[in-house]
Symmetry: C2
């Protein structure tokens, strides 16, 4: 995979609004596996330098998404153990490491979903915000258990429409609301279930803008707030503060008004004090420490 091809694929990762952080982390590992196999290099030093650089560029492309930093960081750490190997050995080992991390990520996701399904039980109304592939898997797994779901549209791109469609197709009675109605509908729910783009080291949640508002309203109404994500989404204490990415203002489809600055920050931070439990591949935790 030469530089122009990698650059194009990096840009698709950067621009992707439909896949979640874990999916994009696995996609990034695939790009690194392909780079390890086929990136042009004549020496081991040249190859390792190129792989580290591509790794860092992928991590920088989506700074709000901890799984990319975590999984690629782990892969990059593996490279340093290969510097005495031959060029073909590095290509093989680095590729294998990337594929192994993809499998680990998939398994952690699967176990997280199973833990969430067990926790939810049956006969409940759930409320959620944004489209999390993890939350979608959880909800589809409890479809036959007398579950009802309230879904917010999730402006600006209305991923909630897609979530509502998938839930309704699975036979789950679904209500679709504006984000502004989250406070009105949260008292009708028994649980607020959120996915995560990442978790800060204290358990605070970085997720689609509006998650903080849902958590505030749930907390104010005594409705438990539950975050469901693999431990790969946890940011390390030593990392920089989470950067909250701002996207193209045109996504709001607001009229172009002279003197008005349209803002489109994608993520907000829900403080850990508003979260009642965290579910990951290891179980259900009342504190995220």
């Amino acid at each position: 995979m030469d530089e122009p091809v990698f650059h194009n694929l990096l840009q698709t990762v950067q621009a992707d609004r439909s896949q979640g952080a874990s999916q994009l982390a696995r996609r990034s590992l695939q790009l690194m596996a392909q780079s390890a196999q086929r990136a042009p290099a004549d020496t081991t030093g040249e190859l390792l330098k190129l792989l580290v650089s591509r790794c860092d560029r992928l991590i920088a492309a989506r700074p709000s998404m901890a799984p990319i930093a975590n999984l690629l960081g782990e892969w990059k750490a593996g490279l340093t153990r290969l510097d005495m190997s031959s060029l073909p050995e590095i290509r093989t080992s680095a590729t294998d490491n990337a594929l192994m991390l993809i499998r680990q990520s998939e398994q952690a996701l699967q176990e997280t979903v199973e833990n969430a399904v067990a926790y939810i039980g049956s006969d409940k109304t759930l409320i959620t915000h944004s489209l999390s592939s993890t939350v979608l898997q959880v909800l589809l797994s409890v479809a036959k258990r007398n579950i009802r779901v309230i879904v917010s549209e999730s402006r600006p791109l209305n991923e909630g429409h897609q979530l509502a469609r998938r839930l309704a197709e699975a036979g789950i009675p679904t209500q679709l609301i504006t984000d502004a109605q989250l406070g009105l509908f949260v008292p009708k729910a028994g649980l607020a279930l959120l996915g995560a783009d990442s978790l800060l080291s204290d358990g605070s949640l970085v997720n689609k803008a509006g998650s903080y508002l849902l958590a505030l309203a749930a907390h104010d109404n005594g409705v438990p707030v539950c975050v469901c994500c693999e431990s790969f989404k946890r940011r390390k204490q030593t990392e920089e503060p989470a950067a909250l990415e701002e996207m193209d203002a045109a996504e709001l489809h607001a009229p172009s008004l002279s003197g008005v600055r349209v803002r489109n920050i994608y993520f907000d931070i829900t403080p850990a004090r508003l979260i009642d439990c965290w579910i990951d591949e290891r179980g259900v935790h009342a504190a995220c420490t």
Copy 2:
């Protein structure tokens, strides 16, 4: 004004999404003044019965809007003092009463705006939700005082766009955000300023859905929440609980999905405990009792 004409005008009041509760209350008083002048009736009893009935229909048309109930209720009470008068006397007095109440309402609005302007002072960033004509008047009055405003789009019909345009035209630096970003932007503001569709007797606020979320986020960030409306918007303790009107689901422009119920409740209730001050024609109050 005969029945078909009145019926059509009643429907325009019912369907109106652009004017606030006080404006629609004054519009309703105009309809009652015109009915008093020209409604077909042969006896005083017939006229009074007709006017009371039209009054009640207007009140029922917008149950979330206290000023309509309050101002029309006051006008209706005045009718009972006219039952010994002649038909022409009733027509004249009832018309005059309606016009006097319109003037009282306008004056209360003007004094409320003046009190809010004095309270805000200068050099501040304000955040607001929805389009309140009172809040708009306040903001235009402080345009030259180094004021910046953050405006939410206010789904489903995006009245925030109109507010942003008016503010920018007045030279006020304005940022426009999705409702979902209210929690992200509230820490950048020194004051959250809200209008009201009505106030409950304990000071709780009935306003466009999303107001409760803004108040929660402001409260959580130590940003004062200020509600600005004339005392005509206060519901009486004896009244029924506020009905929260639901509008046409088509306003959300969601795809039509079998099995998905689209909800469009227009108003939410912000508990008085989240409100720091109430401004009306009498002054600025730290408690609404």
